[in-house]
């Protein structure tokens, strides 16, 4: 199989209440991603976008941004889900042999609508939707299940918020850089026990773009310094109904991770820097366990020991994570872009020295129903 490289990336600053249209946001990131790769829009012949029709308030939401993404007179095809799944689809189209240089872009605005109303509509209208569940209340059910199965304390989860908001202080793209304490998290407004406001990611807007190319094109178009290789990917989905799963179980992630590691020919201990989908504090240790960085239930203890700090054995969410900026469909793509910047040595104040292999993990569906794991390398 031909190798695929990331040759250009761009993202907006993530913030609430962006005053540009989706169209303007995509023009901005697509233009800058092309400039980053040193190519023009004429070099792109495959465009994949990531968006949610419900969040956009427009069906077939990709069609409205096709010219901004550089797809006029070409083709655009869309993934409704996390950016990591968009990257998977973009790479598959590229590897089909039918397409060359590929533009992947994602946009999201949480602040133009009602997050709880939209996440409620992901539940089955025939069963759970009527109960009024949404991302926060279902996340709270998962948090409690995880905590009670492994005897984890709320204070241990609060430490994730402290770490990631602190990391965001070094990321100019992040929305919520904050120096806070465990007490600040514990004293923040209780939303749905055990989740308090600072256990939850913020409502956020933003866009991102990534350009990928097969090895033959990548080497022709770009310099060695810009190229970062997509070395491995794995994805897996668990049951839809929350009651059909043990919410403390990460079996889908374990399978996704196994596939990604095998494809890349690496093991968990080879990873130098990781971005995981911390939509809520409890998710970071759970996903780190599923990714094989520690045994089940041990994540919070490792976090307390500083293993996943920016200066720890494995820096996790040095970008500040989703807790510091969660542009939902964009989030996983933003993770991959952070990995690219780290591997290029362009992450400035938050640079992990000598990073050579990076991992990004995205989720789709309530409570991490589906996972996509990427391994990127120099």
């Amino acid at each position: 199989m031909e190798r695929v490289a990331v040759i250009g990336v761009a993202q907006t600053k993530y913030e609430k209440g962006k005053r540009e249209t989706f169209h303007e946001l995509i023009f901005d990131v697509a233009t800058r991603a092309l400039a980053d790769a040193g190519i023009t829009v004429a070099d792109v012949d495959n465009v994949v976008s990531v968006s949610s029709d419900f969040w956009d308030g427009r069906t077939i939401s990709s069609m409205a941004i096709m010219d901004a993404a550089g797809a006029f007179g070409k083709d655009i095809s869309t993934v409704e889900g996390d950016g990591t799944f968009g990257a998977l689809y973009a790479m598959m189209r590229l590897l089909s042999g039918s397409f060359g240089v590929t533009m992947l872009c994602a946009h999201h605005k949480g602040s133009e609508s009602n997050m709880n109303g939209i996440t409620n509509t992901s539940f089955d209208p025939l069963v759970e939707r009527k109960l009024g569940l949404d991302a926060i209340s279902s996340g709270a059910l998962q948090a409690r299940r995880y905590m009670s199965r492994y005897n984890i304390l709320e204070q241990q989860l609060a430490a994730v918020s402290v770490k990631n908001h602190g990391n965001a202080m070094r990321n100019p793209y992040a929305m919520l850089p904050m120096e806070i304490t465990v007490d600040d998290v514990m004293n923040s407004t209780m939303l749905a026990s055990p989740l308090k406001k600072l256990d939850c990611s913020p409502v956020c807007d933003g866009a991102a773009a990534m350009i990928i190319a097969a090895e033959r094109n990548a080497k022709k178009l770009t310099t060695n310094k810009k190229r970062v290789w997509l070395k491995g990917v794995g994805h897996c989905t668990d049951a839809y109904r929350l009651g059909d799963r043990d919410l403390a179980d990460t079996r889908a992630l374990k399978q996704a991770a196994r596939k990604a590691y095998a494809m890349a020919g690496v093991e968990p201990w080879d990873i130098d820097v990781a971005e995981v989908y911390d939509a809520f504090t409890y998710m970071e240790p759970m996903w780190l366990e599923g990714l094989g960085f520690c045994d089940d239930g041990m994540g919070p203890e490792y976090i307390e020991r500083g293993v996943f700090n920016s200066d720890g054995d494995l820096p996790v969410n040095v970008s500040g994570g989703r807790l510091s900026a969660n542009p939902v469909q964009v989030a996983g793509l933003a993770e991959m872009i952070e990995c690219v910047l780290q591997l290029r040595g362009e992450a400035r104040k938050r640079q992990v020295p000598g990073a050579e292999i990076a991992l990004a993990q995205g989720i789709n569906g309530m409570c991490g129903q589906s996972h996509c794991v990427w391994i990127l390398g120099k």
Binding site: T12, K13, K18, R19, E20, E24, L25, D28, G57, N114, N116, G117, N120, P125, L126, V127, E128, K130, L131, G132, L133, D134, I136, S137, A140, L141, Q142, A143, R144, R145, S148, P172, Y173, T189, M190, L191, A192, S193, P194, L195, A239, R241, L242, G243, D244, L247, R348
Partner: protein
């Protein structure tokens, strides 16, 4: 000079697009999408809801291969991909596997005013859980592992709210 270039790069990186607002008056359109749907409940769930509505009973169904018992029932076993053959009546009791006390208001969505409790109830006689409201217990007293029972609505319409809530077994 390298230092100047660095500063310029940094500013470009975090550029605020919204600078245009100094020159152009911004217009915002409020909107709302209201589209009616009529979702068919299908063969399996319709049967389940009719049993609940007319007989006041909670049923489940069993996979012929792995014998896993699902509630709400399935068309096919999600693991074995086999048609579900056998229906079993559940006693309506279960163990509270997890819960959350909701404190934020979302009047358009929530069936009641906060604080109220959601739980996942691992149903006796089944291998899966039902997500539902938990009531008649103080939010401070609710515990994982509690034995609970379903309380049915008097007026039942054939939907999930025919179970009014789950309450602790005295």
């Amino acid at each position: 000079m390298p230092s100047c270039r660095k500063r310029r790069d940094w500013r470009r990186e975090v550029r605020q697009l919204s600078d245009w607002k100094a020159e152009v008056e911004e217009i915002v359109y409020p909107g709302k999408i209201c589209v009616p749907y009529s979702w068919t409940v299908g063969s399996t769930l319709s049967k389940w809801y009719v049993q609940l509505r007319d007989d006041g009973e909670i049923w489940a169904n069993r996979c012929p291969t792995c014998e896993k018992v699902y509630v709400p029932p399935k068309v096919k076993c999600i693991q074995c991909y086999k048609d579900m053959s056998e229906w079993v009546k559940l006693p309506g009791t279960g163990i509270l596997e997890t819960y959350t006390v909701v404190y934020y208001e979302e009047p358009g969505l929530h069936p009641k005013k906060p604080p109220f409790i959601y739980g996942i109830i691992k149903m006796d006689g089944a291998d899966t859980g039902i997500v539902h409201l938990v009531d008649k217990v103080d939010p401070d007293k609710v515990k994982v592992g509690m034995k609970v029972e379903a309380v049915l609505a008097k007026q039942r319409e054939g939907n999930i709210m025919d179970i009014k809530y789950f309450r602790p077994v005295a």
